[in-house]
Amino acid sequence: MTRMQIILIAGFLFATLLCLLASKNRILTRLFFLAQFLLAIVLTLWPQLSQKAADFLGVGRGTDLILYLLVVYVYIGSVLLLGKFRQQERQITELGRQMALELAQRTGKKEHED
């Protein structure tokens, strides 16, 4: 094993732990992270596998294939995160609105009644 492989694998294991901790009680998310890091570790240990996949798909090198997949992965991830932000923004708005409505008050004196 090369030094780079050791560094990568240590990094992946650490990231796996973090992701598993961050996704408590969500079994699907956890399985997704496990599968993802398992794949990463396998490809690190046997780089020729990504070369084979690249040859199969007609991409020059294995590293190129991984780069292309990474672009798609980051893009989809960002869109999902943005959606999550919008959802949270909506929840915060609703919270602020309910507080405003609960604490609404009439100041001063009423000049007339309808």
Binding site: V79, L82, R86, R97, M99, L101, Q105, T107, G108, H112
Partner: protein, 226 residues
């Protein structure tokens, strides 16, 4: 006022003297203002505690669209028949409100103020602003299919039907376009009437910056996507 009309005024860090003048003009005409303090640094209820107002306060700044929607939710609870959207900065004229309500009574669900129906009104617009508004009209048409003579004019009146049909999700300035698409969706009857806007130095400073237009468009696109 024979029926229940409420004037919704979103406020964010307004200058007290300007705000007092805006509100006093409404009170003099016996309107009931609903002030929505959108998380100003100095709470509105400290500033205007001596005036007879409904005051609501967002705990944090959420944006003008959110403030309008909060005001409308509150007006619904009060059993409003008509609501008006009115700017805090003194650019709208209280004496115009009556014409909005008369137009609603003619059978329209939403009445929108326009600066481009009378030559003397549009003449008072700064040139840069006029060009920007023409572009905004086009954006409105593309996103909503509604072709108006003005865009982002914050002076609007809604009857009870419209009040219950509109639910603004765009917290910031894109709500002005969003409201049009909801009007179209709910098949509300709309009419534009001429309004004169008083452009003071204060209202121009508080108003939309040109650089924010792109932001508004992006907000709208995001909303379509997500």
């Amino acid at each position: 006022m024979s029926n229940k009309t409420y004037i919704i005024i979103p406020c964010y860090n307004e200058v007290e003297s300007v705000l007092r003048q805006t509100v006093q003009e409404l009170l003099d005409l016996r309107y009931e203002p609903i002030m929505v303090d959108d998380g100003s640094q100095i709470p509105l209820r400290e500033m205007l505690s001596d005036m007879p107002l409904h005051i609501l306060r967002h705990p944090i700044n959420l944006g003008q669209g959110a403030a309008l929607q909060t005001g409308m939710e509150y007006a619904k609870r009060l059993g409003a028949e008509h609501v008006l959207h009115f700017d805090a900065d003194g650019q709208h004229r209280a004496e115009d409100i009556e014409r909005f309500i008369t137009t609603l009574d003619e059978g329209y669900d939403v009445v929108l103020g326009s600066r481009f129906l009378r030559h003397e009104d549009s003449g008072s617009l700064p040139t840069r602003k006029r060009l920007l508004l023409q572009a905004a009209r086009l954006v409105n048409l593309i996103f909503t299919g509604v072709w108006l003579t003005d865009a982002h004019n914050g002076f609007r009146a809604l009857n009870r039907k419209a009040l219950h049909a509109i639910d603004l999700q765009e917290n910031r300035m894109a709500h002005a376009t969003e409201i049009l698409s909801q009007i179209r969706h709910a098949k509300l009857k709309i009419k534009e009437i001429p309004t004169l806007i008083n452009y003071s130095e204060y209202s121009l400073r508080k108003g939309q910056k040109i650089s924010n237009s792109l932001n508004i468009i992006l907000d709208l696109i995001l909303r379509k996507l997500l």
